[in-house]
């Protein structure tokens, strides 16, 4: 299903990132009490400006071609497959901690994004997606006739 609920964080939109860090720290304290679902991979950070949204996620070591990004209405989908080094016969893993394999994530956006204007950048292992709001979806000022 859709996650995360960007809506819920809305009230902090004007606050400094530290507040969100604090909220996360507090949530962490109660994680064992309430959380039954596992967090989704990859983790995302969402930044907001008036008419656009920036979604950032850490996907180290992938090829840009292996990452699929699609926008359908107000849902952003990020999927892909990260590959491990090919291991030949006679080679053995001593330690395996990295996240590898297929992943997919659907993120509900607070507005309709314009699919033609969506831009993505992948550098240093960080994927940055810029999503401008669809023009038709912008709030319209309504003139009151006297």
């Amino acid at each position: 299903m859709f996650s995360p609920g960007i809506w819920r964080m809305k009230r902090f939109a004007d606050s400094v990132p530290e507040i969100i860090d604090l909220q996360r720290e507090i949530n962490k304290l109660f994680t064992h009490v309430s959380q039954s679902t596992t967090p989704d991979y990859p983790a995302v950070n969402v930044w907001e400006k008036e008419n656009s949204l920036i979604v950032m996620t850490e996907l180290p070591g992938m090829d840009a071609d292996d990452i699929d990004i699609s926008v359908t209405g107000a849902v952003l989908t990020i999927s892909g497959t990260s590959k491990s080094d090919p291991v030949k016969e006679g080679e053995t893993y001593l330690r395996q901690e990295r996240e590898l394999g297929h992943f997919q994530r659907n993120i509900e956006l607070p507005f309709q994004a314009d699919p033609k204007e969506v831009a993505a950048k992948y550098e240093k292992g960080i994927l940055t997606i810029t999503l401008p709001r669809m023009k038709e979806d912008l709030p319209k000022k309504i003139k009151i006739n006297v």
Partner: protein, 130 residues
């Protein structure tokens, strides 16, 4: 998978740090071939200029500095991961040829090749018929 497996692991500070940022332990894969040991570390946000590999005696330290990830003119509305530096140390055995260690960085992944010392490479022993 439990939450612990998916979240970045924060380093427990053994020493006081000067920079007021969190440090994380990069996730690593280590595998060995006949010739060498390969160490692959996930350090998103670093490039060849901001990553350091140091070898002192037999302690190998990898570290990376990451600029704070704030986006200009934008405010953070939802956050699932934190941004910080990376650091992790490994103890090497003597079987590594220290002069031939190679390091490359690609898309936030540091890859170290630690060749095994010549004398310690596995050798096939030929058996002669008596």
């Amino acid at each position: 998978m439990s939450e612990k497996d998916l979240q970045k692991t924060e380093n427990k500070a053994a020493t006081e740090r000067i920079r007021n940022v969190k440090t994380f332990m990069p996730r690593v894969d280590i595998y060995q071939t006949k010739e060498a040991l390969f160490l692959v570390a996930d350090m998103p946000g670093i490039d060849e200029k901001t990553v350091d590999v140091e070898l002192e005696k037999n302690i190998l330290t990898i570290s990376g500095r990451v600029e704070n990830g704030n986006v200009k003119d934008h405010s953070l509305v939802f956050s699932e991961y934190e941004i910080g530096d990376y650091e992790r140390t490994f103890t090497l055995s003597d079987e590594i040829d220290r002069d031939k260690i190679k390091a490359t960085v690609k898309q936030g992944v540091l890859r170290l090749e630690l060749p095994k010392a010549e004398k310690l490479k596995p050798k096939k022993i030929k058996i002669n018929a008596a």
